[in-house]
């Protein structure tokens, strides 16, 4: 018997109607839930992008602050010893020395460091520590036409699951800069 006919006969049909109404409500609720489910990750993604952009710029600025110029006598000065993968930027690294190929694609010390969810330095080396949320890699390449001009690149990625080395990383931010020797 159709709902209309049952209504017409005045014989009830509350249960069927209710089930239909409930179904509609559940359908609507599912839509609302999907909005909520998508909003939260989007907000976290925006936060991650903001922090990643700051971290990428931070590494470029660290690279730019290394000595790459001339003495007052005109002798070139090149910092090729600072290890920017350490928190304090100790000696013992490669500074603005040319990086080997592929440092942006894999965790190749000393061209990589790891940062926690607040963007604080969390470690270096080939394997990220458990607290690492962001992976930051960089490269230094002299221009073929002018070895005194350096192309600095930095990227920040995040693993899909915090602290894991496997899984496809998502590039959150990428920056390039040019550094030249100036007298």
């Amino acid at each position: 018997m159709s709902i209309a006919r049952r209504l017409g006969s005045g014989s009830g049909a509350a249960l069927v109607e209710l089930l239909v109404v409930s179904g509609l409500l559940v359908l609507m609720a599912t839509g609302v839930a999907q909005v909520i489910v998508r909003t939260v990750p989007a907000s976290f993604a925006a936060r991650a992008s903001t922090i990643a952009a700051v971290l990428t710029a931070q590494k470029i600025e660290q690279l730019r602050s290394l000595a790459w110029g001339f003495t007052v006598d005109g002798v070139p000065v090149s910092d090729v010893t600072t290890d920017l993968s350490t928190e304090a930027g100790n000696d013992g690294g490669s500074g603005l020395g040319p990086s080997p190929p592929g440092t942006l694609d894999s965790n190749a010390p000393p061209y990589v460091d790891y940062l926690d969810g607040m963007g604080r330095w969390a470690g270096n080396g080939g394997t990220p520590p458990a607290v690492a949320v962001y992976v930051r890699r960089w490269s230094v390449q002299p221009l073929a036409e002018d070895p005194d001009a350096l192309v600095l690149q930095a990227i920040v990625t995040t693993a899909r699951t915090t602290g894991r080395t496997s899984g496809s990383a998502v590039v959150q931010s990428r920056l390039q800069s040019l550094r030249t020797r100036t007298r």
Binding site: L25, I36, T50, V54, R64, T71, T81
Partner: protein, 365 residues
């Protein structure tokens, strides 16, 4: 089946009303419970995500504003007789509040404030045509110096922030002042006394002065222009820390000619550096004591520590909190505790550290 309707007047209905009512009530209750839970969750999400978005936006505003000014720190005149970087003569970045109002004592250090000076790309760049009669005398400027616009005052107008400095040597003296008036005879009247009578040829340029500091009582990041504008830039800032990294070599600051001295070199052949050798090539973080122990440069009341002349990188850590106390809980995620006791209704503090290598503060060797 006996229905509730049996005793009621009207046509008899064949409905199983009680059972239906019980079942429908149960179904409705279940659906409503789910809907209410969704509504509560949705309300929490709406409340927290809008505040989280606001927090991120405020963070971006603070970072972008400070980054821009720090990148420009030390930029000097681009026209006129003296062109170059301000850092070759005085410290364009100081770890204290400078300016006409409530300025910190010279040579002081505060980790939660920084003063920045740079010359913008404006035509108001000229020099003194004659030596000042006294420190309080009006400044006679060259109105037709290269790049000056026509009109007799080289683009200066009352209210402009201006800089005058002695270009003879590092630490020779500098003053920031507000132009009170532009008089006949190409005279600039400073709003207050300046530290010394500058010689003819001293550059006089329009300048940008920015002082960022943390108002701890009001939890606000403030920006001050050195004169009258002292306004909040971002609210709900709970921490601000500025660190300075310097070239470790004492020879990274330009040395004077043989036989002469400056505040960072003693006379000698070659001149003897007075700055400490911090060893190595990597920029070294300067402790507060490095920024207050001398050598002292400049003229009172604008003296500064000579180590500031070799700063190559500045790191700023800033931490913001959610605006509403009901979205702040307690624990390590919050500098200031709030009233939230709900695990789903909170927005944690956000902190970032950004670094800037000012483009006009690179050192030499």
């Amino acid at each position: 089946m006996i229905g509730i309707s049996r005793g009621l007047p009207g046509p008899r209905q064949s409905g199983y009303v009680l059972v239906e009512m019980l079942v429908s009530t149960a179904v409705m209750c279940a659906v409503l419970a789910v809907l209410l839970q969704l509504a509560v969750t949705g309300q929490h999400v709406l409340r927290t995500q809008s505040d989280a978005a606001d927090l991120q936006q405020r963070l971006r505003v603070a970072v972008v504003a400070m980054q821009r000014d720090l990148q420009l720190a030390g930029a000097g005149p681009t026209q006129g007789a003296w062109r170059g970087r301000l850092v070759d003569l005085f410290a364009p970045v100081v770890p204290a509040r400078t300016g006409a109002r409530r300025g910190d004592a010279e040579l002081s250090h505060f980790s939660d404030r920084i003063s920045i000076v740079y010359v913008p790309d404006v035509p108001a760049q000229t020099s003194l045509t004659r030596t000042m009669a006294s420190a309080g005398a009006p400044l006679g400027i060259d109105p037709v110096a290269a790049g000056c616009p026509a009109g007799g005052s080289c683009g200066f107008s009352p209210g402009d922030r201006a800089l005058i400095f002695d270009p003879a040597r590092v630490g020779g003296g500098h003053d920031l002042f507000t132009v009170e008036g532009v008089g006949a005879g190409q005279l600039l009247a400073p709003a207050g006394a300046i530290s010394k009578a500058y010689p003819a040829g001293s550059p006089v340029v329009q300048v940008v002065q920015r002082i960022y500091y943390l108002d701890r009582a009001g939890n606000r990041l403030m920006v001050y222009d050195g004169e009258s504008s002292d306004v909040p830039l971002v609210d709900h800032v709970v921490d601000l820390r500025v660190a300075y990294y310097a070239d470790p070599s004492p020879n990274s600051v330009p040395s004077p000619p043989t036989g002469t001295s400056t505040c960072v070199f003693a006379a000698g052949d070659p001149p003897v550096p007075l700055l400490a050798n911090l060893e190595g090539l990597a920029p070294k973080r300067l402790a507060p004591v490095h920024l207050t122990d001398g050598p002292v440069c400049g003229h009172a009341p604008n003296r500064f520590d000579g180590d500031l002349l070799r700063v190559t990188r500045i790191a700023v850590t800033i931490r913001l909190e959610a605006e509403a106390a009901e979205l702040r809980g307690s624990g390590a995620a919050f500098v200031r505790s709030g009233t939230s006791r709900d695990g789903t209704l909170y927005v944690a503090d956000q902190q970032v550290t950004f670094e800037v290598s000012p483009r006009n503060m690179r050192t030499v060797r």
